[in-house]
Assembly symmetry: C2
C-alpha cells in the first residue's frame, strides 16, 4: 500500500540558531520518511517577534548563558557542525536577516530545487563559519557554496529588491502568524483533522509520532 505523503511546513529564518537545528534534522528526515513532504518556508523572524510582542530568549542573561551550552549539546547529539560567531548579539540585534530571507524567497519562487542547499549554506555561514549574510558578496558566496550557477545567483540577488519577492516574504510570514507562530523554528502538520503548529526543534519527536515514523537519532551511542 502506498504511503500518503503529508505536508509539513517548516517556518524558519537563518538568523535563528535552533532553526538551523530543526532545518538539518527535518531535511534529513525528509529523505528517510516516506510519509513526509517537507515544505521549506523562509519567513522573517523580526516580523514575527514584532507582531507577537515576543523577544529573543537570549535577552534574559541566565537563559543566554544556558543557551550557549545547550545548543552545542543539541547540535552534537544531532551531528550538526555548530560554532557561535563572536559577534552573535550584533548579528541578531542589528544586522538581521532581511536580505538573506528575501534571497531564499527568490530561490523558493524561481528555482526551488536550490532552496534547501542555499538555506543550509546561509545557516552555516552564521552558525558554523562565523561569516556574514548581509553583504551581496556574502550572499553570492552562499550561492556558490550551494552550487548555484553564477547567472542564477546574480538573478536571485537582484530579486531581493523586487516588490513581488518582498511581498511574498511578508505573505509567508503572515501565514506563519495565522498558524499562531510566535517564534522560530515552527512547523505545521495536519493531524486529527486540523493543522497542528509546533514550536521548537524539540517538538520533532511529536511530528515523528504523528507521522508514524522513527527519528534517526541518536546516530551512535556515546
Amino acid at each position: 500500500m502506498a504511503v500518503t505523503r503529508r505536508s509539513v511546513k517548516l517556518f524558519y529564518d537563518v538568523l535563528s540558531p535552533y532553526s538551523y537545528i530543526a532545518f538539518e534534522v527535518l531535511t534529513k528526515c525528509n529523505k528517510l520518511w516516506p510519509s513526509m513532504d517537507l515544505q521549506l518556508k523562509p519567513v522573517l523572524i523580526s516580523g514575527i517577534m514584532q507582531k507577537t510582542g515576543n523577544s529573543p530568549p537570549g535577552m534574559l542573561p541566565a537563559r543566554a548563558k544556558y543557551m550557549g551550552k545547550d545548543i552545542y549539546r543539541v547540535a552534537d547529539y544531532y551531528g550538526i557542525e555548530f560554532k557561535f560567531p563572536p559577534d552573535v548579539f550584533d548579528i541578531m540585534m542589528n544586522k538581521g536577516s532581511l536580505k538573506a530571507q528575501r534571497l531564499l524567497t527568490a530561490a523558493k519562487i524561481d528555482a526551488s530545487d536550490h532552496l534547501e542547499e542555499l538555506s543550509r549554506q546561509l545557516f552555516r555561514r552564521i552558525w558554523y563559519k562565523s561569516e556574514g549574510i548581509t553583504e551581496d558578496g556574502s550572499l553570492k558566496s552562499a550561492c556558490n557554496s550551494a552550487g548555484i550557477p553564477h547567472d542564477l545567483s546574480d538573478k536571485f540577488i537582484e530579486l531581493t529588491a523586487n516588490d513581488d519577492i518582498k511581498e511574498e516574504l511578508k505573505v509567508t510570514t503572515a501565514e506563519a502568524l495565522d498558524h499562531g507562530v510566535f517564534g522560530l523554528p515552527s512547523f505545521v502538520v495536519e493531524h486529527n483533522g486540523k493543522p497542528q503548529m509546533m514550536f521548537g526543534s524539540d517538538r520533532i519527536f511529536l511530528l515523528a509520532h504523528y507521522l508514524g515514523e522513527s527519528l534517526p537519532y541518536p546516530q551512535a551511542k556515546l
Copy 2:
C-alpha cells in the same frame, strides 16, 4: 559488570505544568534505567523567577495560546493525565505553591520514601483534578492520596511552619540557581566530568543519551 548509577537531580515545583511532565517521565525512567539515581529536589519557582528576572512563558499571549495546546499533545504522548484548571492564571500568579513546596521539603527531610508519591498527588491536584494546594485541608488530602499515615501527614503540615524546613527550601532553590537554573523543570547530571544543567521536559532525550539509555516512548504507535 555492574552498572554505575549516576545521580540525576530534578529541580521542580508543583506549580509548573511542564515540571509535572518531567516528573512523571523521569520517575518512570528511574524504575527502568539501571544507570540513573533520581534525586527529587523540590524548589520554589517564584524564587527562581525573581532571582533571574525571568517571567512565566504564558505571559506572552501568543505563547500562552500555544502552550494550551502543546501541553495536551505532550501529556498525551507520554500517557500522562492532564487538564488545565479553570483558574490557571490565579493559581500561578496569586495562589502560588509556597506551602506545598515546604510540605514536600518536610517529606524529603523527614520521610523521603513518601516524597515521590506526595509530589505526584500535588501535581495531579492542580494539573488534572482542578483542586487546590494552598489550604491545609488540600495538603492533608494530598497526603491521604499518597498513602501517608495521618499522624505523619499532620507532622508534615506542622513542619511547613518550621524554620529549618523553610531554610532547606531556600537552600535547595539556591542550589538550583548555582547550577544556572532560570526556569523549571531543570535537571542536572554529571557528564564529561562536569555537571550538565538542562532545562525543560524536552531535554530528557539528552539525559537518556548521556546515560546510554533508551526512552520508553512512544508507548504505542498511533
